[in-house]
């Protein structure tokens, strides 16, 4: 465990922390790229007139498909995205790119390029795609029990439909890459990518080069959240094409409008569900259809849908559960990974059903939720035992007590009785999140650790630092394994020429996988150092301990550096590689059975809100979280992940609204029209605690993954809003659109007028 904060905190506050565009600006000799974007959602490109752009002073090139030395087709799972398209697939798609001496000139050049198009029919919404039978994938299903029979036999039956919205990543650093020729026929790509190995492969394919000629380096990323897992590679590939064409360094940084209109978002989902319950609210049957909007290309949508299928149970046991899902193909930007990766959408459906059943039966929602929670011995609908399921109940009970839930529920009822125009609501929701890439082979990682003669340690691994504090945690792992102080260890940039064939830093797996790899390398080094320490200490190797920068044994201590020097003089290799492959994972997609996850993360949140019935505006008054991080590697960093994930989830569920216009054009292109949470949305009372006695034996030093699960804690806010709406409306289920903007809450209270014209 480390008490330290982010390893780059000082560099952050002084402005010395360099991001991709910062490096290019400081080097000062790059060409800058700007896209020429399509003005139609679907169109055939007939002619590109580059002349007016090339006539501008400072414009150096217009990049088109003709400049691609290798393949023009990219995409993480299916190569179905044209880097330079002859058929436009969504409004705003880059058709070609202008390179100029500076960004302003490139932008002016892009505005001057003329593109002739033949406009083609377009599918501009999920509904349109479903109606047209336009899909990226065949239906995927998971089922447990006989759902039809269980539904038919259920004492109470319910049905509903829920639309889950898109969400813009709005990482503060927009997509960026900076490519330099290395002078030896290779390219160095400084990129803001969560997946350096895939960016490397993409650039290599596009340039028609073997991978060893392309080095991708990631120093840090200004926020990723999944948005730079697959979609960072295209920008890097364009910059590489520009570099190959001109021989000059090329930097591309999308401005916010370009980033918002070009890149994909969290998948919108349409969920149709039926459920059966007993009179006590216990679910006996749950039947769900999910359809995600994949956008114009497949991207990661299939895996995102799979995670949605795995998480539609929420944290609840249902004896008969069937879920069928499919990915629709629309003419919209290709939707992609976003923190939670389909699980938040699925868990929202699970909570919708719990609340619906409770209110329909006149039971407190928290009572129904508690009755349905997984218990020890339960298995999920795909057959995986819910290991440590007792933690769900433990968290639930501890949080109800620590948040004084019952007392506050009573106080809120009294408050609501005294206020006609404002009502408060409270809710508790649980989290169960499976950890591991559901594509099993991705659960591997590599690292190396070097020890220098002065005893200082340098580590490098395949994960990327994007604010989540990965390098800080890894540093702690290396220091602890070698028994040296954290100040003696440095973790440096991620490089594909140092650690090859890595997986994306995604699926919350960064510290589990890379931490284990670094620990393996560090253990190897410790083994090599042991005999030399033993010789210096005059004891048996088994008796040596490394701690706090010393080797200890036989009641004596020698400095770590002295052991290192002795090993060096004895001609010992002081560089070690480490590798980790998570054992035991398997999933049979055809059967819908297996154990895709190494373990589950659990948590729960209580949220209290106040709603203004006149306007639907609402405030988040207080939040209590109890979350399972295992034995935390870095408590301050884990708390930051929990709080940040929670607030990002609140944004998705309450104020962030992605809107497209009638031509398929994005209307919410920047911060003035797309409202992410500001400091005013941070709850006044924000109490976060982590579960005690929560060692996870399968992960590094007993820790657990933390990146995505806390996002789902925010579902408590949506359910608390529904509780407040119910206080206005009285008994019975409450229909609340998502996101629960003031307008949505207003309609939930007052009922939407029938003759509502389409909003766009």
């Amino acid at each position: 465990m480390t008490d330290r904060g982010h390893a780059s905190a000082v560099a952050h506050v002084t402005g010395e922390a360099l991001f991709v565009h910062d490096q290019a600006q400081r080097d000062g000799n790059a060409l800058y790229g700007w896209p020429v974007q399509a003005a139609h959602a679907h169109a055939r490109v007939l002619h590109i007139d580059e002349g007016p752009a090339l006539a501008l002073p400072g414009v150096r090139a217009v990049l088109t498909a003709a400049d691609v030395p290798g393949t023009n087709w990219i995409g993480p799972a299916r190569h179905d995205e044209a880097l330079f398209p002859d058929e436009v697939q969504y409004h705003g798609q880059p058709v070609c790119w202008v390179l100029a001496d500076d960004e302003a000139t490139a932008r002016a050049g892009a505005a001057a390029v003329r593109i002739d198009c033949e406009v083609l029919p377009a599918l501009r919404s999920l509904d349109a795609a479903i109606a047209a039978g336009s899909f990226h994938t065949a239906p995927q299903a998971i089922a447990a029990g006989d759902v039809a029979a269980a539904l038919a036999a259920a004492p109470h039956r319910f049905a509903g439909e829920l639309r889950l919205p898109a969400q813009e990543h709005f990482y503060l650093e927009t997509q960026a890459a900076y490519v330099r020729p290395d002078g030896e026929g290779g390219y160095h790509v400084l990129a803001a990518t969560q997946h350096p190995a895939e960016t490397q492969a993409t650039v290599a394919h596009v340039l028609g080069l073997p991978a060893h000629r392309v080095t991708v380096e990631v120093v840090r990323i200004g926020g990723g959240f999944g948005g730079k897992e697959s979609q960072a590679s295209g920008v890097a590939a364009v910059a590489a094409v520009g570099c190959a064409r001109t021989g000059r360094p090329v930097a591309i940084r999308l401005d916010r409008q370009r980033d918002a209109t070009i890149t994909g978002k969290r998948h919108p989902f349409l969920a149709k569900w039926r459920a059966g319950a007993g009179p006590d609210g216990r679910l006996v049957a749950f039947d769900v259809e999910l359809c995600g909007d994949g956008g114009s290309s497949l991207d990661l949508s299939k895996a995102i849908l799979a995670r949605a299928l795995f998480h539609v149970d929420g944290a609840y046991a249902v004896p008969a559960l069937r879920v069928v899902g499919r990915v629709a193909r629309t003419n919209l930007p290709s939707n992609t990974a976003f923190r939670g990766f389909g699980a938040p959408q699925a868990a929202a459906v699970a909570e919708e059903v719990q609340d619906h059943v409770a209110r329909a039966l006149g039971l407190p929602p928290e009572t129904v939720r508690e009755r349905n929670l997984y218990r020890p011995g339960d298995r999920t609908h795909y057959g995986q035992p819910v290991r440590d399921a007792e933690r769900i109940g433990r968290i639930w009970r501890e949080l109800l007590a620590s948040s004084r839930f019952a007392e506050r529920r009573a106080a809120i009822a009294a408050w609501n009785g005294a206020h006609a125009h404002h009502k408060r609501g409270i809710a508790i929701t649980p989290v169960k999140f499976g950890i591991g890439f559901t594509t099993t082979f991705l659960n591997q990682a590599g690292a190396h650790v070097l020890v220098y003669r002065d005893g200082s340690v340098l580590g490098r691994h395949g994960g990327t630092e994007m604010g989540q504090g990965l390098h800080t945690k890894i540093l702690a792992v290396a220091a602890r394994t070698l028994g040296v102080p954290e100040s003696g260890v440095r973790i440096v940039s991620t490089r594909t020429d140092q650690v090859p064939n890595t997986s994306a830093t995604a699926a919350s797996s960064g510290s589990d996988l890379n931490g284990a790899a670094v620990a393996a390398a560090a253990r190897e080094l410790r083994q090599r150092l042991l005999p030399h320490a033993a010789a210096l200490l005059g004891c048996a190797p088994e008796a040596v301990e490394f701690a706090a920068g010393s080797a200890l044994g036989a009641g004596r201590a020698v400095p770590f550096a002295a052991v290192v020097e002795a090993a060096f003089l004895a001609r010992t290799s002081l560089a070690a590689t480490g590798f980790h492959a998570t054992p035991g994972l398997h999933f049979d997609a055809a059967a819908g059975r297996g154990e895709p996850f190494g373990y589950f993360v659990f948590g729960a949140a209580v949220s209290e809100v106040e709603v203004d019935g006149c306007t639907g505006q609402h405030r988040l008054l207080a939040v209590d979280v109890l979350h399972d991080v295992g034995d935390s590697l870095a408590p301050a960093i884990d708390r930051g992940q929990i709080e940040g994930g929670f607030v990002q989830g609140v944004g998705w569920l309450t104020c962030e609204e992605v809107r497209f216009g009638p031509a398929g054009e994005l209307l919410t292109r920047n911060a003035s029209t797309y409202k992410l949470p500001g400091i005013g949305e941070c709850p006044a009372g924000f109490r976060v605690a982590t579960l005690e006695r929560a060692t996870e034996p399968g992960a590094v030093f007993g820790s657990k993954a933390v990146g995505e699960p806390p996002f789902l804690l925010a579902l408590s806010v949506r359910e608390a809003l529904r509780d407040a709406v119910a206080a206005f409306r009285g008994p019975g289920p409450v229909a609340l659109d998502c996101p629960a903007t003031p307008e949505a809450v207003y309609w939930a209270i007052h009922g939407r007028p029938d003759a509502e014209p389409p909003a766009d």
Partner: protein, 461 residues
Amino acid sequence: MGGALHFVLNGEPVEVAGVDPRTTLLHWLRARGLTGAKEACGEGECGACAVVSVVPGRDGGSRYVAQNACLLLLPEADGAEIWTVEGFGRAGALHPVQQAIVAAHGSQCGYCTPGFVAALFAHHYAAHRPAPEQALAGNLCRCTGYRALREVAAGLPAPAAGDPFAARLRAPAPAARALHYEAAGARFDRPGSLAGALELRARHPEAVLLAGGTDLVAELNQRGSAPRHLISLGAVAELRACAGRGGTVTIGAGATWREIEERFAGRVPLFAQLLPRFASPLVRERATLGGNLMTASPVGDGAVALLALDAEAELASPHGSRRVPLHEFFAGYRRTVVGPGEILAAVHVPAAPPSLARFHKVTKRELDDIACVSAAIALWLDGGTVTRARLAFGGVAPTPARALAAEQALVGRRLDAASLAACQAAVAAAFRPISDVRASAAYRSALLGSLLARTWAEASP
């Protein structure tokens, strides 16, 4: 003769020539290698580009203000004293604000952090520190969830004795001076007097007037094109003059919303309700009253409030000035009656405080958001009977607008259920809102009625 720009950057004098005057300070800083300030939106919404400048304070001293460098054109820096994150402290010698962020674990990815440092730096030295939420309302962070940063703002100690940045504030701030600057085929004028501004305006009808730039420069950044000739009003002292005589308040069109907040929040009705929710502190330091009116946005907060107060606009021209009641000021969507040779010089708010004044602003986000509907309601009552009513709304018509018929119909009535219903019907008949990214037409229509109901309820609890 292109001229040169001179200013003080992180304590060192700099001279700039030959740089296109339409370059933002942010882009210039970054191209110079000062890459601490970041661009994340380019429209003054996120604060990642925040830098600090020194402006006049009270009693002849100075104060630090955080501003969005993406909304400042480089020539506007001429004569100024600007600090970027690189100037506050460095590893091993962190500024107390930087130290506090590190200690509180207030950074994750670090991209927004320099902007938070700038905002907190200004907060640290403020004579009267606002609430943390207000101080940081103009900075967005996507990683942390803000709790740690809020605690930093709440917990900053007073500046230490001997703090050189604090000492600087005892000396006067630089004053904006007249400027003529040309480069790259574009021109930037900053006249030093109203007469000079009017003369330039008359000679160059194609030039665009620049006040605080918080709307204009944001728009230029988003469009990627800018006019070849800009006339900044930033050095026209007459335009910043404010006065309160016989109860009437006159606010210079060049007064920033920060100045208005400081001087008039307690004196002009509605302003105390309006100001905390007007843009963000970073924007209020630049945005002017005149700019807010001249941009003629249908949801301009200031316009809606001033309509309800029967304010008058004073338009200056080379031939003298004229006054236009604000409800005749807006000619249509994003248009005003201000003539080609005229400049909005001031706004006069008459002395007749209403008995009841309410400002409502409905937004998705609590702070720093644009209204989907705003309402300013001013009622003058005599023994419970309405003698005069002003009902002004934003976001329901092409311009901020009053509901004249509804106002008339209220006169002589008491605030009861019948008058509310009649007023709601008259207001509903007056406007046909549209649907856009912020809200649907139906919701806007519903809000008109419910905001009136809210006001009635508050008037007779």
